[in-house]
């Protein structure tokens, strides 16, 4: 499929020709000089592909460097995308025109929305994905992205140069050195190395260097980063064994069928590529005391579990489940790996026992009595860099124009990686063009929550998204990610296509119009009761009730309401998504009014920028306790809002910081000869109300 791969370095993007002659790659007759790109992305995983595609969408000539082109878009762990919180991230990635949602709509084999009964704010779009299809579709997408070039190669070192004045950082990255000694020059570099930084794969007591089973780790790059002064930490993760499909007795297990109809991930898709009846089922089985016994008897053979490398508070492996919640039965989901795959992924059975014990353990489980293990589960330990060393644009503070995204920042999960990838790609591109960074606030999206948590609090365990992390959960819903992010992505970042922008704009104006119409229709409760007898409308008080209020009742939807008042409501039921979103907006109307006030307050604080190069330990103009200085020094909040979220920073310290901000602005204003009015206190107006 990739004829160029074996022969040489370059797999050129074919569609880019009319925009950008790939002159530098092949046609140039000049002496072999090092190629030059706007943005170089190191790594072809979920962060790397999104970063490279986003940078290219923003108009930067981009190079994606990966160990092997055929692993681009590889799903190294679970064969699924999305879920609760993660599905929210995917909708936001899609709103910024990212790839993974669209690719998932072309590659899924079992689509299901979780939390259907718990309210639209916490619906979790999820799908089992065909690994092979996903990889194929992702590679097709990446290799056909204008301005994007792909090259195989392992990066060993960074090329550094003198720092640019006016920015923090002790040096500037200007390219990368490959393992073969060749160089690629770049204006910005994004590292998305996943678990490859000094990665070690662990099975039982065996441990060998690898970023993923069968792939070489990056050691030189890790050393370079450490030498530059980055604080490095170590995390661990794991993956379960794979089981031969035909060796499982599904007939005695609980079957889970996909949704009908399937709900697509992307705002651009009305439906997914496959009919519900053609999709594959999942099955549920459980562990039992015999599984516990095997794990507990063999702890001495399991170095991954014993090691002190930080694992999460939650239970990633079956060992941690058994150790921390003994005498319990644990769920194991048997998930298909693809349409024509003969492998099953036992979700919940991540394990690092020696291989033969893994097989023994598996066969204790109901339905798996005769199971054949095709590949053992294993653990991975890897370096990550304390994310408090990067800014919310994901650029490092130490090295200018160097960006980090994905597991290197201490996160876990495809969706978390993809979300960071988009932001890093956009900002690497904006940085070159001297444009302000594109930052998503916590009030605007889960992407903002993710990055704000990482950059102000750091990561002491692999960071995974949960909806409980979002303060404004009722506003940050899967349904409205486009209203929150697409317009900003189009105008400020330039990463959104015209087609998507137009669609989001149409939806926004239709929603606004629909809500206005629903507010304008008023009847007495008695009349509504007659019009919509299905609704439990209270007629005890004779007040005038808006159609919007009737729509709030659980048993009422737009369809029902439009039957009662066809004119003018009929037309709002023609688009299924519009009708559904009107219903959601109605349900949350009152509480959203309340949340909007809070959001404005937070945004006001976030509009107050703190100087990037502030030396918290040294500054004399601010009276701050030593303890507070240390904390601010570690987190380096960029705004007063972020500073107030750093644990241990007192209100008095915040006021002192405010004073400092004001002083700095004064000084700057005097220097520029402009009026000393506060420029930093206008409403950002970033939040879209719908």
């Amino acid at each position: 499929m990739f004829p160029l791969r074996g022969r040489g370095l370059w797999v050129a993007a074919t569609l880019s020709r009319q925009h950008l002659p790939s002159a530098r790659l092949s046609g140039d007759s000049a002496a072999p000089r090092s190629p030059h790109f706007d943005v170089v992305v190191v790594g072809g995983g979920h962060a790397g592909t999104e970063a490279a595609a986003a940078a290219a969408r923003c108009g930067s000539r981009t190079l994606l460097l990966t160990h092997r082109v055929d692993t681009i878009g590889q799903m190294s762990c679970n064969p699924s995308f999305g879920g609760i919180g993660k599905g929210h991230l995917m909708r936001e990635v899609d709103a910024l025109d990212g790839l993974c949602s669209r690719i998932c709509d072309q590659s899924g084999v079992h689509y299901k929305v979780l939390n259907r009964r718990k309210g639209p704010a916490v619906w979790g779009l999820r799908a089992q994905i065909d690994r092979k299809l996903y990889k194929q579709n992702m590679q097709k997408e990446i290799l056909n992205t204008p301005l994007l070039t792909v090259q195989e190669g392992a990066v060993e070192d960074l090329i550094l140069s003198e720092p640019e004045p006016g920015h923090t950082g002790k040096c500037r990255v200007s390219g990368v050195v490959l393992v073969d000694g060749s160089t690629v020059h770049a204006e910005s570099v994004i590292l998305t190395t996943g678990t490859f930084l000094r990665g070690m794969v662990v099975i039982g007591l065996e441990m060998h260097p690898a970023g993923r089973l069968g792939d070489q780790p990056s050691v030189g790059l890790a050393q370079t980063l450490e030498k530059l002064g980055f604080v490095v930490g170590r995390l661990k993760t794991g993956t379960p064994p794979r089981i031969a499909k035909e060796s499982i007795d599904f007939s005695i297990l609980n079957k889970q069928t996909p949704d009908n109809p399937s709900v697509p991930f992307s705002f651009l898709n009305e439906t997914v590529w496959i009919k519900p009846e053609d999709q594959l089922p999942c099955h549920l089985t459980h562990t039992n005391p015999r599984v516990d016994a095997i794990i507990l008897e063999n702890l001495h053979l399991n170095s991954h579990v014993k090691e002190t490398t930080k694992g999460p508070r939650y239970c990633p492996s079956i060992e941690s489940k058994v150790l921390r919640f003994p005498n319990r039965v644990h769920q194991v989901w048997l998930e298909p790996e693809g349409m024509d795959s003969d492998l099953i992924y036992p979700q919940g059975l991540s394990v690092t026992l020696p291989a033969e014990l893994q097989e023994k353990m598996i066969t204790c489980i109901r339905g798996l009595e005769k199971a054949k293990m095709m590949q053992p589960g294993y653990g991975v330990q890897y370096d990550y860099l304390d994310p408090r060393q990067i800014t919310p644009s994901l650029e490092t503070r130490l090295v200018q124009r160097l960006f980090f995204a994905g597991q290197i920042n201490g996160t876990t999960g495809y969706e978390e990686a993809a979300a960071q990838g988009v932001i890093a790609g956009v900002n690497a591109s904006l940085r070159i063009n001297c444009k302000p960074p594109f930052i998503v606030s916590r009030t605007e999206g889960y992407i903002g929550v993710l990055i704000d948590d990482l950059t102000t609090l750091g990561a002491s365990e692999p960071y995974r998204m949960f909806t409980s992390r979002a303060e404004f959960r009722l506003s940050l819903r899967p349904d409205n990610a486009d209203s929150r992010l697409t317009f900003r992505g189009y105008k400020e970042a330039g990463c959104v296509s015209q087609q998507r922008y137009d669609r989001a704009a149409w939806m926004k104006s239709s929603l606004e119009e629909g809500i206005a119409v629903l507010k304008s229709i008023e009847c007495s409760s008695t009349k509504w009761k007659k019009l919509v007898p299905q609704a439990s409308i209270s007629t005890s008080r004779s007040v005038s009730v808006r159609a919007l209020d009737v729509l709030k009742y659980e048993e009422v939807d737009m369809e029902l309401l439009a039957k009662a008042v066809p004119d003018p409501l009929k037309k709002y039921t023609e688009c299924r998504e519009l009708a559904e979103r009107l219903k959601i907006e109605a349900s949350y109307e009152s509480i959203l009014l309340y949340q909007l006030q809070e959001i404005k307050e937070v945004q006001r604080d976030e509009a107050l920028q703190l100087p990037e190069d502030l030396d918290y330990l040294g500054i004399k103009d601010v009276s701050l306790s030593h303890e507070v200085r240390e904390k601010l020094h570690l987190s380096r909040p960029q705004t007063i809002g972020a500073a107030s979220r750093v644990p241990g920073v007192t209100p008095a310290a915040i006021v002192n910081l405010l004073k400092f901000v004001k002083m700095v602005h004064r000084r700057q204003a005097v220097e520029n000869g402009s009026s000393p009015d506060d420029p930093h206190l206008t409403d950002t107006g970033k939040f879209q109300e719908l």
Partner: protein, 480 residues
């Protein structure tokens, strides 16, 4: 499924004015006793606050000091005669709409006004430094001013911290921490149910357990807030209602106790036709003394209305001073009064919520010097002569005993909620718990718990989503 949508209208905007963007108020002069105390509000609802405390008088002209009678908009109880100022934004201290109340500096008055403001929808007590932050945000402070204010805010934060520590050391602190713990756990379990229930196997009944905990918490908070009225009474005065049949000498008693002619006294039955109120100091306790119309089948419509109001006032009383003419105990009005008012109050539960009762037999100077004193039935009573003052000492002694119980003894009783802040946050926590029950979906229900917890952690400290995750990961086996 498990929660039927009753009415989302419960989330209507008028109940949602407690967001941080709302209007704030605080005592901006020093705490403690001082000649004049200044209470300030800032934010869009300042106008509403000013209007509702000074109603029915017109709004003062901007930036002009005007004398107004402040009263509690909920109870109508007069609070103080005060200078008020109205500063429409942006020409104000913070740049927002501001109101200032210059009141007499006693703690009772200050607390009364703070509490009244806390009851105005859209208002909440300011956090430390919040006025300054707002002033700063609107470009109202010069650098030297910020300099000085930063120190002040530091001091304020420190004082608030010390105060919080003192309170948290006490019974209230223990209670609040206990509530916060319960609430955090309940919220964590609801959050776990949202984030993990579909993929991981949480135990059965996680939500039901959370429901039960929230319900118990609602009950405990509700009882505590009711109980905390004792603290309130210390400030605004216990509500003492003087009642009895016509011409028993109720008005004479009121005048005697308040040491001023509050009510017109005459020998004509039915002289007092309306409720007359006067704040008095009774045996060292502040009290609000109400004189009422004599209870009888009314003669004219005006007196009938007076009688209706007297009954209404009896419902609200903390302490009823039942007055009878000792020489007229056999009269039908006296007998009716004993049956209708005294009997139900006298046999109240010792710890019940019904008001205390003191039965006073007036006009004892008219009794023959010899012979047995006529008895009003099986009830304990005090003899008094409003004319000669005989028996007054005994009455004051009895009042003191009852008022001490009513107002709570700060040194022995449970901690009094003396700060509007506490009441505000507890009340809003309770309101939010009510929304939890009514919420249409689980995300809305969780939001109600989040709001409730935010109010509680304003008192106890802590909060934040990491604590929630700690509980989730401690209590449940989740993750993949």
């Amino acid at each position: 499924m498990w929660r039927k949508l009753r009415s989302l209208a419960a989330w209507g905007p008028r109940r949602l004015c407690t967001a941080p963007g709302a209007t704030i108020f605080a005592l901006s002069s020093g705490h403690g006793r001082c000649g004049v105390a200044v209470i300030r509000t800032s934010g869009p609802s300042s106008l509403k606050a000013l209007q509702s405390l000074t109603a029915p008088r017109a709004l003062p002209r901007p930036r002009r000091a005007s004398l107004r009678l402040l009263s509690d908009p909920r109870s109508g109880a007069p609070l103080d005669r005060a200078l008020v100022l109205w500063f429409p934004g942006p020409r104000s201290f913070t740049g927002e709409d501001c109101a200032e109340f210059h009141v007499h500096g006693g703690p009772a008055v200050v607390n009364g006004v703070l509490e009244a403001l806390g009851g105005v929808p859209g208002l909440r007590p300011a956090e430390a430094g919040e006025f300054t932050r707002r002033a700063f945000a609107h470009g109202k402070l010069s650098l030297p001013e910020v300099e000085g204010l930063a120190d002040l805010i530091h001091a304020e934060t420190e004082a608030q911290r010390r105060q919080a520590l003192r309170q948290l050391d006490g019974e209230l602190g223990q209670l609040s921490r206990g509530w916060a713990e319960t609430l955090t756990k309940a919220l964590a379990h609801v959050e776990a149910y949202i984030d993990f229930a579909e993929d991981d196997n949480l135990e059965e009944g996680v939500l039901e357990q959370a429901d039960r905990e929230v319900q118990a918490l609602e009950l405990a908070l509700g009882m505590h807030l009711q109980d905390a009225r004792r603290g309130q009474r210390l400030r605004s005065g216990a509500h003492v209602v003087v009642a009895g049949p016509p011409n028993a000498g109720k008005s004479s008693l009121v005048n005697l106790l308040s040491q001023k002619p509050v009510s017109i006294v005459s020998s004509e039955p039915g002289t007092t036709r309306d409720v007359l109120e006067t704040p008095v100091d009774l045996a060292g306790f502040p009290a609000l003394l109400s004189d009422t119309a004599g209870l009888r089948e009314g003669v004219g419509p005006v007196e009938q209305e007076g009688v209706r109001r007297a009954w209404e006032r009896l419902e609200q009383a903390d302490l009823v001073l039942a007055v009878l003419d000792v020489t007229d105990l056999a009269a039908p009005t006296s007998r009716d009064f004993l049956d209708a008012v005294v009997a139900p109050l006298a046999c109240r539960e010792p710890k019940g919520s019904s008001p205390h009762l003191l039965l006073v037999l007036n006009k004892c100077d008219l009794l023959p010097s010899e012979g047995p004193c006529p008895r009003p039935g099986p009830y304990p009573y005090l003899l008094l002569s409003c004319l000669t003052g005989a028996g007054l000492d005994g009455l004051l002694e009895a009042l003191k005993k009852d008022l001490a119980v009513l107002c709570g003894n700060p040194s022995t009783g449970p901690p009094l909620l003396t700060r509007a802040r506490h009441r505000h946050h507890l009340q809003h926590c309770l309101d939010a718990l009510g929304h939890y029950r009514q919420a249409g979906d689980l995300a809305l229900a969780a939001e109600a718990l989040r709001i409730a917890r935010r109010h509680l952690t304003q008192l106890t400290g802590g909060g934040g989503s990491e604590e929630i995750l700690d509980v989730i990961f401690r209590d449940f086996c989740v993750g993949k």
